[in-house]
């Protein structure tokens, strides 16, 4: 009897947890439905003209800015993270490797608002000296890269732990160099896990709000130069949701829906394709 009750209760919990994602998706579709059906796709997806007061709801420039910031941040953080992860395994003595791993864990736990705060008080004035106003695309890229880097290191580190000891012994027996061991023996084994890590980090970068909002300058324009301010899709939601109403608010929900679908595509890619 008690077992039946427990089974029912835990089953209910599992149902809630399992359906939450669909519920979020459904709620975003519902809240953005009037915009989705009322506005022509060309008007919101491809246009860069965002002026809610005049009925202009072009999300294109902000979507492009989100993609640009994320891709560039990843282009810095992923190679650096992989190299540091490999270095931790192959070259670093234990007295460096152990605390450094712990430090990466701590860095991954620092809230994004703290990264953004530091970016605002230190990095923005620094960048301002050669690219005024300082809160520009490259600043956002640097802060985001700094946030993603520990994840990249930790994923690489965890993946390298999976390499069978026998392969490493064989590599040593063949007198391969450290770099050779990494390139020839470890890399083919861990390529898949690292690739899925990179996709996950891309999803994370795309969805990052606060850190980017605080340092990117938030001017709506197509991303053309590293030294011009941009506004990402996430920052736009955070900045305008507070006072938006009617169609304006529906388009903000629509931008959230686009973001959710992009991130879901990343997650499904990792689950389905890359892991085999």
């Amino acid at each position: 009897m008690r077992d039946q009750v427990l089974r029912l209760i835990t089953g209910l919990a599992a149902l809630v947890a399992g359906l939450l994602l669909l519920l979020i998706l459904a709620e975003l579709v519902r809240a953005s439905w009037p915009a989705l059906t009322g506005l022509p796709v060309k008007a919101w997806l491809f246009s860069g003209h965002w002026a809610p007061g005049d009925g202009q709801f072009g999300l294109g420039a902000m979507l492009a800015s989100s993609l640009a910031v994320s891709v560039l941040a990843l282009a810095i953080a992923a190679p650096a993270g992989i190299l540091i992860g490999a270095w931790l395994h192959l070259s670093a003595p234990a007295w460096i490797a152990v605390p450094l791993r712990a430090l990466q864990g701590v860095m991954a736990g620092i809230p994004s608002v703290v990264y953004g705060f530091w970016g605002l008080i230190t990095l923005v004035p620094l960048v301002n000296q050669w690219a005024p106003p300082g809160a520009v695309l490259i600043t956002a890229v640097l802060v985001l890269a700094l946030m993603i880097l520990p994840l990249s290191v930790l994923v690489t580190d965890a993946a390298l732990h999976q390499v069978p000891a026998r392969s490493l012994q064989a590599a040593r027996a063949l007198a391969l160099s450290r770099w050779g061991t990494f390139r020839q023996v470890m890399w083919p084994t861990v390529r898949g896990s690292i690739a899925s890590g990179v996709v996950l980090q891309f999803g994370r970068a795309l969805g990052e709000t606060l850190a980017v909002l605080m340092v990117a300058g938030n001017v709506i324009r197509w991303p053309g130069s590293l030294t011009e301010p941009v506004r990402t899709i996430t920052a736009n939601i955070a900045l305008e949701m507070g006072y938006a109403s009617g169609l304006h608010s529906q388009v903000l929900f629509l931008s959230g829906l686009i973001l959710l679908l992009l991130v879901m595509a990343c997650m499904l890619l990792v689950r389905g394709g890359l892991r085999g």
């Binding site: 008690r2 089974r7 736990g109 620092i110 608002v113 008080i121 605080m214 990343c266």
Partner: protein
């Protein structure tokens, strides 16, 4: 370039890169301490903010943050643990339902926090009529941390040695008895680690809370009042309040310290419970 040269290059490049990465981290700590330490003190923790946060302390924000966290964990932990128990004890790992829930949770764990903010605003604040309140904020946060709690709980339940279960079955314990007396105590340190992960993320979360728990600086009287969390305070001081930098830095230091304290205390607490439940009546 011969082998040893390439190895040397790899070692040096890696080392330099690590230094390059540590540099901003050290700079961050230095800047926060430089700006925040002069403000930080008991006074700062125990008084209310004044002048939009430019002076005074953060006492009501600590209380709001605590309430939000309490709401979040008291929803997310039972639901998450319940889900993990159901997945682990009643479903076969390869069954379609189990894989479906697993996939849904995996995707959910990657959903950006601003989406939970939108969802929480729409569902809890508007549809359910809770408004900008600690309850809305805590519930939205609970949705965000749920997948982490399920995943870590599930892993620790699965790591309980099969022999323990067999012994419990041999003693003809009911499933409930086995769970409560054997499986959960054994798995509790792992479960607690998941809760810690969730607490750390919930404490630092801002985007979820801006449009659910709101901005109000006053001390909340009930969970239906709006309350500003520490992370939201840092954001507000940095972007909307000129001259709020030093108080922002001090708040950031408090937040980082809280995350560190939560991480260590919850873990040792769970260790105690596990020892108590397993050794109490032998």
């Amino acid at each position: 370039m011969n082998l040893t040269q390439r190895d040397w290059l790899f070692t040096v490049t890696g080392g330099l890169l690590v230094c390059l990465v540590l540099l901003p981290l050290v700079a961050m700590l230095f800047d926060l301490l430089r700006l925040g330490l002069p403000v930080l003190g008991w006074e700062f923790l125990l008084t209310a903010p004044s002048n939009a946060g430019r002076s005074g302390g953060i006492a009501p924000l600590l209380i709001s943050t605590g309430w939000i966290l309490l709401v979040c964990l008291s929803v997310a932990v039972p639901v998450g643990l319940g889900c993990a128990v159901f997945l682990n004890e009643w479903l076969l790992p390869e069954s379609r339902l189990s894989r479906g829930i697993g996939l849904s949770l995996d995707v959910l764990s990657g959903v950006p926090s601003i989406i939970f903010g939108l969802f929480g605003y729409q569902v809890f604040a508007i549809t359910l009529g809770l408004g900008f309140s600690i309850l809305s904020g805590g519930l939205a946060l609970a949705c965000m941390v749920l997948p982490f709690i399920v995943r870590t709980s599930q892993q620790s339940l699965a790591a309980v040695p099969a022999g323990y279960r067999q012994a419990a079955q041999a003693l003809s314990l009911s499933q409930t008895g086995m769970l409560w007396r054997v499986v959960l105590p054994t798995a509790s340190p792992g479960i607690a680690a998941g809760v810690v992960l969730a607490t750390g993320r919930a404490l630092g979360e801002t985007a979820v809370l801006i449009f659910t728990a709101g901005y109000v600086l006053r001390q909340p009287d009930s969970v239906l009042d709006s309350g500003r969390a520490l992370a939201v305070h840092i954001y507000d001081l940095a972007t909307n309040v000129t001259g709020g930098t030093s108080h922002g830095a001090a708040t950031a230091l408090v937040l980082l310290a809280l995350i560190l304290i939560a991480t260590t205390s919850v873990r040792s607490g769970a260790g105690l419970w596990s020892r108590y439940m397993l050794e109490e009546k032998r």
